[in-house]
């Protein structure tokens, strides 16, 4: 794998944070949260890595989403 750019590292770091947050969720629905995080990232897999604007926007949105879903009141997620 080629050396990662700073932005790519940010994306992977957010992905890692999401997967860590999944572990805080109840065991019965953990799988759903994990699949949700996975698909949210995979959805934009084809994005050009030079498309900084879009990636930065998605990063911001992702961080906000992570903050929202981290709330203890959210017990399950479906799509």
């Amino acid at each position: 794998m080629a050396r990662l750019s700073g932005l790519q590292r940010d994306v992977l770091s957010l992905y890692r944070q999401c997967l860590r947050a999944v572990k805080e969720k109840p065991a019965s629905t953990r799988e759903n949260f994990r699949d949700f995080a996975r698909s949210e990232f995979r959805q934009h897999m084809e994005l050009n890595k030079k498309d900084f604007g879009t990636i930065e926007y998605l990063l911001r949105r992702g961080r906000k989403q992570l903050d929202t879903y981290r709330d203890e009141g959210i017990q399950n997620v479906s799509r």
Binding site: M1, R9, L19, M45
Partner: protein, 139 residues
């Protein structure tokens, strides 16, 4: 007549007494057994921790555990390419998101937390093994 009856009932009462005591005594016995049962897993857990802490990890053991973990990872497309030198991307066909998941699975397996910077540098089985061997906390 009355005295005989009195004696008989007294004798019965004495005979009944141990029988009465039994249920009273039983909870005591049971609770002590229960306590013992509770202690056993804790002791076993402690033993495992002590054992792994004092024995340390060998390269073969770490490699075996990482390979097992990769074998069970559904994204590995060519399990036959899996060996001690395998590169996550070039050999196993994993992308960067998969690599993050693998590294996190390794964290869980060895009960450590790998900081982002170091996690980003792990791209192959060998790098993962070397990293784990360098961690005194890994077990």
């Amino acid at each position: 007549m009355f005295r005989t009856a009195l004696l008989r009932s007294a004798r019965q009462a004495i005979r009944a007494a141990p029988r009465c005591q039994a249920p009273i005594a039983r909870p005591v016995v049971r609770s002590s057994m229960f306590q013992a049962k509770q202690i056993v897993p804790a002791a076993r857990f402690q033993a495992v921790r002590c054992y792994s802490a004092s024995a340390g990890l060998t390269k073969d053991e770490v490699e075996g555990r990482i390979m097992d973990l990769l074998k069970n990872f559904d994204k590995v497309t060519e399990p036959e390419k899996l060996n001690g030198e395998a590169h996550f991307h070039n050999d196993l066909g994993l992308d960067s998101l998969d690599t993050v998941e693998v590294v996190m699975a390794i964290e869980e397996e060895f009960s450590i937390e790998i900081p982002d910077k170091e996690a980003d540098a792990i791209h192959s089985v060998k790098q993962a093994v070397d990293y784990i061997l360098a961690q005194p906390d890994a077990h």
